[in-house]
């Protein structure tokens, strides 16, 4: 089974064509975000296939939106490029509502593609560092946080936050993570076999890697799946961990784990 946390739909997209693009034989749910109307159309028409994430951005980030998204049937939120850093207390009312409604939040973390309309603007990737999730995870322990793109290029910081906080997860999609060389993954994912340098051997840090989730961003599921499976095989991830990454973590966050297990 696969749940895709990171799929987009734009105002000009056709819902059926988009779901066709993201389709895969093993897929059980696609979490869509982007144009709220299209997302709503998708989860209204395909309630068993689509989970809607309401969009919060520079243009619209009022906490009242969270109430509205919840009432409309969105089950989570997507946040990207806000005027202040994600951990600014001005956004705490958003996190408070999301926690109350049990709506997980997918945050864009790390570098944001450069766009034309940013002239004279104050967008900065420093406001989207994965380390910003630390304060939020502490302040809202009942809220699930998913950082996108493993916090590119602050991968180590992202891994640190995922390791430390039970409610923080990361996806591995985007233009950069899948280009990282093997040596960099080793550096990020391995830990010492024994404490106090009793051994120079290194083993996979299972506590860390079990905090990843599957996401595709723009590409199709098969494309990202190849990368995830290469990663699983090269580092010899156990089946339980593969399962957590591919669907179980997300199923737990959206409260559909039992339902999917019964399938």
């Amino acid at each position: 089974m696969i749940i895709n946390i990171h799929a987009h739909i734009h105002a000009s997209d056709d819902v059926d064509a988009k779901l066709e693009h993201y389709d895969h034989p093993d897929l059980v749910r696609t979490c869509l975000s982007g144009d709220n109307e299209k997302v709503k159309e998708a989860f209204t028409r395909y309630p068993d296939k689509v989970i809607g994430l309401g969009f919060l951005s520079r243009e619209a980030s009022h906490p009242r939106l969270v109430d509205r998204y919840h009432e409309e049937g969105f089950q989570g939120l997507k946040m990207i490029d806000l005027p202040e850093a994600y951990d600014s207390p001005i956004y705490y009312p958003i996190y408070e509502k999301a926690e109350k409604y049990k709506m997980p939040i997918l945050f864009h973390t790390g570098h944001l593609a450069v766009r034309e309309n940013q002239r004279r603007g104050v967008t900065s990737h420093l406001k989207m560092r994965p380390g910003c999730l630390d304060a939020i995870a502490r302040a809202f322990p009942g809220l699930y946080l998913i950082g996108a793109h493993l916090g590119n290029p602050w991968y180590e910081e992202a891994c640190g936050v995922a390791f430390k906080h039970k409610n923080v997860y990361f996806d591995l999609c985007g233009g950069t993570v899948h280009l990282l060389p093997y040596s960099r993954f080793k550096h990020l994912f391995m830990t010492s076999k024994e404490g106090n340098l009793r051994s120079l051997d290194e083993v996979l840090d299972e506590r860390l890697v079990s905090k990843f989730v599957f996401g595709t961003d723009g590409p199709a599921v098969a494309h990202l799946l190849e990368f995830y499976e290469n990663l699983f095989d090269i580092f010899d991830f156990r089946p339980e961990i593969r399962e957590k990454i591919l669907w179980r973590n997300l199923a737990m966050m959206f409260g559909i784990e039992k339902e999917l297990e019964a399938k």
């Binding site: 002239r119 420093l126 060389p181």
Partner: protein
């Protein structure tokens, strides 16, 4: 051909002696920053050999200085640590003027040396981290930005800035950068040969290394050149990349690429 973007001249220095110090048979010209009056003397006396960068510091950074430097014949700007982080909107009027005058800005990035007079002050290396260039590069897309010292110790952050922004470059000047061991440089410069871990082989990431520029700091050109050439050979940089680093990138910033090619 070589352009040295990082030459110093201090109040006590003799202009002729400093020109002699930085001389090299392949040198086109040296960019000087330091004591503004001496820099001006240098580019007035040696119009073909010296390019002047007007200096902004924590004591003197008013945007009007950019107008003044431009009127006086400085071709660029050098910014040391400022009271706020480089990406503070306080400094946007500076960047706006520099962009309008087509004056590249060299920022000191990374650890900032301890100097007398900083007691009870607010200077922090965090305010000069290379990630601060992200907001500036987005907001002023026509401004050329050089980060000095590869943002050390935030070298990875610096490398990603260089990849993601067409208008950001870095020099490798300074003892700490030149002392980085081979394993660390590999970690910084290599990327996977194929995406998605299809291959465990690694190749040099030309998108990063083609964004470097040649600078000497206090060293003679020949000394700095030895380091750069070792780097080129160790990682087998292509001829095009070597040329970009040694002179072409800097020539593009000053709009003299065609002129130099005709030589």
């Amino acid at each position: 051909m070589i352009i040295n973007v990082h030459g110093h001249i201090r109040t006590a220095d003799d202009v002729d002696a400093q020109m002699e110090h930085y001389h090299h048979p392949d040198l086109v010209h040296t960019w000087f920053a330091g004591d503004n009056a001496k820099v001006k003397e240098a580019f007035t006396k040696y119009a073909d050999k010296a390019v002047g960068l007007g200096v902004l510091t924590e004591e003197a950074w008013h945007p009007r200085l950019i107008d003044q430097y431009h009127d006086e014949g400085f071709k660029g700007v050098k910014i040391f640590a400022l009271p706020e982080a480089f990406d503070s909107p306080t400094y946007y009027p500076i960047y706006e003027k520099a962009e309008r005058y087509e004056m590249p800005i060299m920022f000191h990035t990374g650890f900032f040396e301890l100097r007398p007079g900083q007691e009870r002050g607010v200077i922090s290396s965090l305010k000069t981290r290379p990630g601060c260039l992200d907001a500036i590069a987005r907001a002023f897309p026509d401004l050329f930005i050089i980060g000095a010292h590869l943002g050390i110790p935030w070298c990875e952050e610096a490398c990603y800035m260089a990849v993601h922004h067409k208008n950001i470059y870095f020099d490798l000047q300074g003892h700490p950068v030149r002392s980085l061991p081979y394993s660390r440089l590999k970690h910084l410069f290599m990327t996977s040969k194929q995406w998605g871990l299809r291959s465990l082989d690694e190749v040099v990431n030309e998108r990063i290394v083609s964004k470097f520029v040649f600078g000497t700091g206090n060293f003679r050109v020949a000394e700095a050149l030895e380091y750069h050439e070792k780097l080129f050979d160790t990682f087998d940089f292509s001829q095009e990349v070597r040329e970009k680093i040694l002179w072409r990138n800097a020539a593009v910033m000053l709009g003299i690429e065609k002129e130099l090619e005709a030589k």
